[in-house]
Amino acid sequence: MAHQTDKINQHIVPLKTNLIVFAALMGLLILTVVADLVPLGGFNLIIALTIAIAKALLIMLYFMHVRFSSRLVWVFAGAAFLWLGILMTTLGDYMTRTWLAGPGSL
């Protein structure tokens, strides 16, 4: 019910969890640097983006407390990612500009 006073999220993340997440983030940071040093062609970008998404998820879930929040917060957090995804479809313009001769072709 809407009028119910929802319990404010009082979940306290243990220091140990925070430290583990921090260590994981630092590990992923090192992995990003190492992965960039290995020449894998187009896969370098995919690996870098995958690590970046993993880092962002850890921050959202633990440091921003989404993991311990209500479903509604999950929906809004998911929506923000969805919107970011829509913005990324801009890439479609760049990938298809040369497909057809016309004002848009480079």
Binding site: M1, A2, I86
Partner: protein, 548 residues
């Protein structure tokens, strides 16, 4: 059953509880903040209107003889920047939205009252930047800030203006967040989502767009700053950038922003149409969900601004197709309003005249939007007066008309005073006439090929331009009259009843003007909105159980 009681401004209401300036500038009362916003926006509207007046005067003659081309560039830039970011985007959410949302849902205030006041101060700060730009010499990029002109070549106050808009964006986000959380968390007992007034649905959808889209505009403006001030190559091809990237980022915000501007107007119209036809809204669920559909689909169409800008042909085709889709939920609303009128007991009070004007003008603006969504037609009329007329029909004919309709409808609640009906009806009709005379000739001008943003034009376009300017002078009367008689009514108007329109919403079940905390006791909602009876216009069932 009638719930009207003799009343008027009474001791202890939100206006008379404290008269000090401090009590206004430090208020956290959503109603007072709504009033502060209304006053601020009125001044900004007049400033933007002054620029429009000079534009129309310049265009009376084919020669560029009133102002220089540089001054003309600054005039249309200023007009667009002020009207879009400092009037239309905040207009209804911050004024009527702030005032009404807590009252419509039976709450004492917004979820974050201090954030609400902060949003006004942040808005003021952003407005001061623009005021400074006006005094210092203006900006000439147009409201769209297209790169690389804005990021490299423009020799005017681009960064100061962009900073003002950047700051104002935070004010928008504060308001949007506040509305979303208020609607989620503070509804009165019994007020489930499908008992919410449609105004609340539309403001909720608007707030979603505000929160999701505004950061992208902030990023785009920040990137202009990076390129302009630090020479980082982002948009300038000479530095390895892509000018179209700016247009992508800009329109990713600014097209949804069109729906930030129009959705609240649709919400107001839904309230007015039901009340003055004394009928339940036709297809409540469809109208409610069409707001959300517009909010979502509005995010998928930004590329239709770039059909001839060099965007991929495939991108253009997809954006063209997607743009047609937005017409569906918009049409759902128009058809439902029309169906609501059918067999209603219609009265042509001033707010209703505005609401009917909204439907007509929005429909014309919307249908010409479909012309523009069609790729080949857009290639023909892109950057002509056809486009100018199209978006003015939506934003001015639609949104500003709905805003005025809403201001008149809730004026008795906001001020405790009645406005004079006859002159108000005359003003509403003047506005409708003046608007069409101003902007309909612009459709023809655009179709004939007159480009926008030029201060001189071939002589064959003069007759239509003179008509347009004549219409603008009538339109100006339509805008100035309400300012005069509404101010007059504050002192000389009759005291208003609590519910002069016999409306069903919770906001009408408290005093006019309301007490600081809105309700003596939290109302319990037992029925859906708009329980009117067209057979007996005096009969209605209010939403709350506080009165009988």
């Amino acid at each position: 059953m009638s719930v009207t009681t003799a009343a008027g401004p009474r001791h202890g209401d939100y206006l008379s509880i404290n008269y000090t300036i401090r009590s206004w500038f430090l208020t956290t009362d959503h109603k007072r903040i709504g009033v502060l916003y209304t006053i601020t926006l009125t001044f900004l509207f007049l400033l933007g209107g002054a620029a429009a007046t000079l534009i129309r005067l310049e265009l009376v003659t084919p020669a560029g003889d009133l102002v220089t081309s540089e001054a003309y560039n600054k005039l249309f830039s200023l007009h667009g920047i002020i009207m879009v970011w400092f009037f239309l985007v905040p207009s209804i959410p911050t004024t009527l939205g702030n005032f009404l949302i807590p009252m419509m849902i039976g709450a004492r205030d917004m979820a974050f009252p201090r954030l609400n006041l902060a949003s006004w101060y942040v808005f003021l700060l952003g407005s001061l930047f623009v005021a400074a730009v006006v005094i210092l010499g203006g900006v000439d990029t147009g409201w769209t800030f297209y790169t690389p002109y804005s990021s490299v070549y423009a020799n005017t106050f681009v960064m100061a203006t962009a900073a003002g808009i950047f700051i104002t964006g935070f004010s928008s986000i504060f308001t949007g967040l506040n509305i979303i959380i208020t609607v989620h968390k503070m509804r009165a007992p019994g007020l489930n989502w499908f008992r919410l007034p449609l105004f609340v649905w539309s403001l909720y959808a608007t707030s979603l767009i505000i929160v999701l889209a505004t950061p992208v505009l902030a990023i785009a403006l920040l990137l202009i700053g990076l390129e302009r001030l630090l020479g980082v190559g982002i948009f300038d091809p000479a530095l390895g950038g892509d000018p179209l990237l700016f247009q992508h980022l800009f329109w990713f915000y600014s097209h949804p922003a069109v729906y930030i501007m129009i959705l609240p107007g649709m919400g107001v119209t839904s309230e007015l149409i039901t009340c003055f036809s004394r009928k339940q809204i036709f297809g409540y669920t469809f109208v409610a969900f069409s707001s959300l559909a517009i909010a979502i689909l509005g995010f998928l169409v930004w590329g239709h601004h770039m059909f001839v800008a060099g965007q991929s042909m495939y991108g253009g085709m997809i954006f063209s197709l997607l743009s047609y889709l937005v017409a569906i939920p918009s049409a759902v609303k128009v058809f439902n309003w029309t169906a609501t009128l059918y067999k209603g007991s219609i009265s042509f009070k001033t707010p209703m005249i505005y609401a009917l004007s909204f439907i007509g003008l929005f429909t014309m603006g919307g249908l010409t939007g479909l012309f523009l969504a069609a790729l080949p037609v857009d290639v023909q009329v892109h950057d002509t007066y056809f486009v100018v007329s199209h978006f003015h029909y939506i934003m001015v004919g639609g949104m500003v008309t709905a805003y005025l309709g809403g201001i008149h409808f809730w004026w008795p609640k906001i001020t405790g005073k009645l406005y004079p009906e006859k002159i108000s009806q005359l003003a509403a009709l003047t506005l409708f006439l003046g608007f069409n005379l101003t902007f309909f000739p612009q459709y023809i001008l655009g179709y004939m090929g007159m480009p926008r943003r030029y201060h001189a034009y071939p002589v064959e376009f003069q007759a239509l331009n003179v008509l347009s300017t004549a219409g603008a002078s009538i339109l100006a009367v339509g805008y100035l009259l309400p300012i005069v008689y509404l101010l007059w009514s504050l002192r000389y108007g009759q005291n208003a009843d609590d519910n002069p329109w016999k409306a069903t919403g919770l906001e009408w079940q408290t005093s006019s003007p309301p007490i600081t905390h809105n309700f003596e006791q939290t109302p319990t909602v037992t029925v859906g909105p708009y329980q009117y009876s067209p057979e007996n216009p005096e009969e209605f069932t209010p939403q709350g159980g506080q009165h009988d």
